[in-house]
Symmetry: C2
Subunit: 340 residues, 2 copies
């Protein structure tokens, strides 16, 4: 930390700036507050003098008065999906437009989460965006402290919590519809990790629709969202069935990419001529020509905007009731599946 001192040895304060500009101290404060009402001309004058004096408002000291730190914790888990970096960058930008900064918490092991919550409280963040798993006890603790939090792409059936989600079930139903109407009859599913609520919803969504459409041949194998598990998942499906299914529905894009590569380079099978593969997420590489995935793209921009608004509304009005916002995914007909 640093500060700049006046020639007499005192720290330069907003009063020094105000005196030199000839305005009130609160006018100076407003100039440094993102989004505060102040004329361009006034801001320019104040900034010029502040710069000359080397004045900077002390956000930390101010937070002790306003009881806001203007920081929000974002918790992500180590199980890094290629998809999350985009979420993180978008969250950071949406928050910064509202004058709030992201304090980053990454979990290497799920057991880190207790230490982490201690720290979240210590840094006095205004809110938490939660893109990792949380136990019921941890939720209790957050509620007890009165810190607003929003789950990002996690939902908890029996808790009244704030959440922003992509509609996993709707997306999977659409994928299954497209494949069945295009003549696919036998299906393999590669799920994500068993403890991922997103994967459970996606896999259940696909299974349910397949059942409704009276598809008889459906085999599920377990993946872990990784490229490698998409590849080994395909080999496992082939072993179980004695042959390849018509289509493989993967619980995320990265596994679908691994599955396509295994089909082509390990089994010498043509995609989509001999095998259709679909994913979920809409990560950047899904659009690369080698893959051109049929997938459901999460509307990251809309979802992150929603998460940011929901947190900041609750920082202002802690009494707002919990809310869940579910966004439809964007349907992408790619070349990785034989579609009618």
């Amino acid at each position: 930390m640093s500060d700049v001192r006046r020639r007499d040895g005192h720290r330069v304060t907003s009063y020094d700036v105000a005196r030199l500009v000839g305005v009130s101290q609160s006018a100076v404060s407003r100039c440094f507050k993102p989004g505060a009402s102040v004329s361009k001309k006034m801001r320019a004058r104040v900034m010029k003098v502040a710069d000359d004096l080397g004045y900077q408002p002390n956000a930390i000291a101010r937070s002790l008065i306003t009881r806001r730190s203007n920081m929000v914790a974002v918790v992500i888990s180590q199980q890094t999906n290629l998809y999350y970096p985009e979420v993180l960058v978008q969250l950071s930008q949406r928050f910064s437009e509202r004058g709030v900064r992201v304090l980053l918490f990454t979990l290497e092991h799920e057991s880190d989460i207790d230490v982490l919550y201690n720290q979240i409280f210590q840094y006095q963040v205004d809110g938490v965006v939660e893109a990792a798993r949380l136990s019921g006890e941890q939720i209790d603790l957050m509620e007890q402290r009165g810190i607003p939090f929003v789950f990002y792409n996690r939902s908890l059936k029996d808790r009244r919590v704030n959440a922003v989600c992509c509609d996993q079930i709707e997306g999977e139903r659409w994928l299954v519809n497209r494949l069945v109407e295009s003549g696919h009859e036998t299906f393999g599913l590669i799920s994500g990790p068993e403890d991922s609520s997103v994967s459970v919803e996606r896999t259940q969504g696909a299974l349910e629709r397949l059942k409704e459409l009276d598809v008889k041949s459906v085999t599920v194998v377990l993946g872990d969202y990784s490229y490698e598990s998409g590849a080994s998942g395909l080999l496992e499906l082939k072993n179980k069935l004695g042959k390849l299914p018509d289509a493989v529905v993967c619980a995320n894009d990265v596994m679908a990419i691994g599955c396509m590569d295994a089909a082509r380079y390990r089994l010498g099978v043509k995609v989509p001529d001999e095998l259709s593969v679909v994913g979920f997420d809409g990560v950047g590489p899904a659009q690369w020509q080698s893959y051109d995935l049929t997938t459901v793209r999460q509307p990251v921009r809309r979802m992150t905007e929603a998460a940011v608004s929901m947190i900041l509304e609750r920082v202002e009005e802690p009494e707002l009731p919990p809310e869940k916002r579910t966004f439809s995914g964007i349907l992408v007909d790619g070349g990785s599946a034989r579609l009618a």
Copy 2:
């Protein structure tokens, strides 16, 4: 922000915890300080009572006393390389092992950088890891404030600054050596953006070595690190030369991937049989079987560890002289190039 109040309406303090446990207030403080010397038993007793009372140390209030915020700013630019998310996660984890949290600053436009530095000062971070471009004036400003900073994969020739880099030039020389010794005679280069110091070093490194090895046919086109610019770069090379070169050297992996896809899917050319392609970075998708890139992998773990140590050493001892640490990349012989 939240706190917990005692039955008499006062905020629970470390003194309340100390009294109940029967230890000093400073012993309680130590229990909450990452890395502080305290017995397991003591910590367990203190934590139990703190939990019962709902006590949490206020990191912000403490920072006003210790003059450390235990936060470090990490500045990344919007030009999101698939490679940076890994850097960010690794930095976050290395810092958190040292009791320090990452406050994230993402730049959407380069012009955001002035607003951003104002904010960095306001949040009173202990240091800055800089993975975006910075002008000479901005560096002056940081030095004036006495905030330690480390450039991550940026170097500035005529400034005494702290920097952690991968050896771009050495890596490119190795790539060129491998290609020339394997019989490649005509070369295309797809550079990164002109204002990227990393791209300039990579492209210069390759050009210099090609000259030393007396390679006559070398054509350079401009890219922007994106998949699309790798694809269009290949088409541009073909137009300029009237045919494809033997090898294309791309200033990063993502462009090399775009280049390979354009060769296969737009030109119907076999990689590596008819065209060798090499990249730089060692991003995850470079290892996918569709690409299997010959590349130079940056040692992200070592580089992020170095950046974290360099910052924290300078928070303790601001007088330490500037230091540059350059790490050799890891050479990856992949299937994207015909190598002897």
